[in-house]
């Protein structure tokens, strides 16, 4: 068992375990912390795949940004109202069925067209490639995303504006 495989299994257990905890724990705040762990684990997977750029972005945006905002929302609503919000959704059977179906779908599609275990060595700097393709080949989707973000930003400002 090489170090890479070992790391993969550790990360896999961490990811799956923390993801399960996100949906199973009752305490909403704990769920978010488990989510942070899961997202960090994802970054670890990216790192393992030598996609450092993606790993860093994953940390910066998801673990650092999204989690923060979610936590903020919980703290503001829960502690200030003075009442504990707990996750009461107990539809485990339904959830299990849906997720099993999803797993089956993914696994079967992977099985249908088996991917190579070893991947081709990366040619050149991944970060640079991402940067270049985003600004050349994928310029239009990139710009559209920017417009989307702008729309989101504007709507956020609209909602947060003080009442006149």
């Amino acid at each position: 068992m090489t170090g890479e495989v070992l790391a993969f299994w550790v990360l896999a257990i961490l990811l799956v375990g923390s993801a399960l905890m996100v949906v199973l724990t009752k305490n909403l705040f704990h769920a978010v912390l488990w989510l942070a762990l899961a997202l960090t684990g994802t970054a670890g997977v990216f790192l393992l795949l030598e996609a450092e750029f993606l790993a860093a972005v994953q940390l910066l945006l998801y673990a650092g940004g999204i989690v923060t905002i979610v936590v903020f929302a919980i703290v503001v609503t829960e502690k200030l109202v003075g009442e504990r919000l707990s996750q009461v959704s107990r539809r485990i059977t339904g959830g299990a069925v849906v997720s099993a179906a999803l797993v089956w779908l993914i696994v079967s599609s992977i099985m249908e067209r088996p991917l190579a275990i070893t991947r081709a060595p990366m040619s050149g700097d991944l970060t640079q490639i991402i940067g270049e393709t985003v600004l050349t080949r994928f310029a239009l989707p990139f710009e559209l995303l920017a417009v989307l973000m702008l729309a989101g930003l504007m709507s956020a400002i609209y909602f947060a504006r003080p009442e006149d």
Partner: protein, 326 residues
């Protein structure tokens, strides 16, 4: 010779060196602040107080570890560690000299930013887990501040990246062998100022220390911590400051370049990092704290547009120079 530092030993060495420097940085700050305030500072423990950090550490270790009854225990106990780990990780990509470092990732700057943004999770855990309203208010302020100041910090740190044309920290350092980026006409100085301001804010140092704000929130998110847990939080905070100082020295002050033989490189780097640290300290001990709404206004209305424009201008200059063949 430098290649002999194997990947296994390097992290351990760096960790210990960093912790050692961090403890002594506190002494440096206390002495510096004391001089600013016409006092002497720590003096009794050892010659001119040189053993003071060790005495402090021992004292903190001996202290009773008080855990509030109503605290969310796992979260409360884990918070200092979650806070400390990212702060220590930022040293992972720092090259202390050409080839001397743990891992010189080709996304060095981005890694630094990503890891330091993780610190907020630990901070939040502390604020929430303490089950204290001061801590909670502090955690709420933390979110406001971190969201607001991450962007200017990223933008100002990206200016040297654009100038050097690489995210890799060692490349950025090498690119400054001729001209340190702080001496780059206009852009360099403005970017450095923006970097220092957002560093101070991102590290929650006065005048932006609204998280700690001991005159309003007593000690903010760490109000319930004592003993070793408090020491860990403190260690994390100073490690972050130190990391940011090193980053500043690397991005703007030419990292290890300096007169003398090559082996003096790390020493130069350390001196430059200390200069950045003292600059931050100087700011800290001479300003009054500003209010949370003023802090946000400063970021969103001034710093963010300014750094964004500066980044654009830098890109334009770089492209123009490349086209002109300079």
């Amino acid at each position: 010779m430098l290649e002999l530092v194997t990947p296994l030993i390097a992290p351990i060495v760096v960790l210990h060196v960093v912790i050692g420097i961090v403890t002594y940085v506190t002494l440096l700050e206390r002495k510096f602040a004391a001089r600013m305030q016409s006092r002497i500072g720590p003096y009794r423990v050892g010659y001119h107080g040189v053993l003071q950090p060790i005495a402090d550490a021992v004292k903190l270790m001996m202290k009773e570890d008080v855990v509030p009854t109503a605290a969310d225990k796992p979260v409360y106990n884990l918070a200092p560690i979650v806070f400390l780990v990212p702060c220590m990780f930022i040293f992972a990509t720092l090259p202390f000299a050409p080839g001397l470092g743990v891992a010189d990732l080709n996304i060095g700057v981005l890694f630094f930013l990503a890891v330091s943004s993780m610190e907020i999770v630990g901070l939040f855990m502390a604020g929430w887990g303490s089950n204290n309203k001061y801590a909670l208010l502090s955690a709420m302020r933390a979110v406001n501040q971190v969201i607001s100041y991450d962007l200017p910090f990223v933008f100002s740190a990206l200016i040297p990246v654009v100038l050097a044309g690489s995210l890799k920290l060692s490349d950025i350092a090498a690119a400054q062998s001729g001209l340190w980026f702080i001496f780059y006409p206009v852009i360099g100085q403005l970017a450095f100022i923006a970097f220092i301001v957002s560093t101070v804010a991102a590290e929650n140092r006065a005048p932006f220390d609204i998280l700690e704000a001991e005159s309003e929130l007593v000690a903010g998110f760490r109000v319930e911590y004592s003993g070793m847990k408090f020491a860990l939080i403190q260690l994390g905070e100073y490690a972050h400051i130190l990391g940011a100082s090193f980053l500043g020295a690397l991005l703007f002050l030419g990292a290890w370049s300096g007169p003398g033989p090559e082996w003096l490189g790390p020493i130069w780097f350390l001196i430059k990092a200390m200069l950045v640290f003292l600059l931050v300290t100087w700011v800290r001990w001479s300003f009054v704290r500003i209010r949370v709404d003023q802090i946000l206004a400063l970021s969103w209305k001034a710093l963010l547009p300014a750094t964004l424009l500066l980044l654009l201008a830098t890109a334009v200059v770089v492209v123009w120079r490349a086209n002109a063949g300079l």
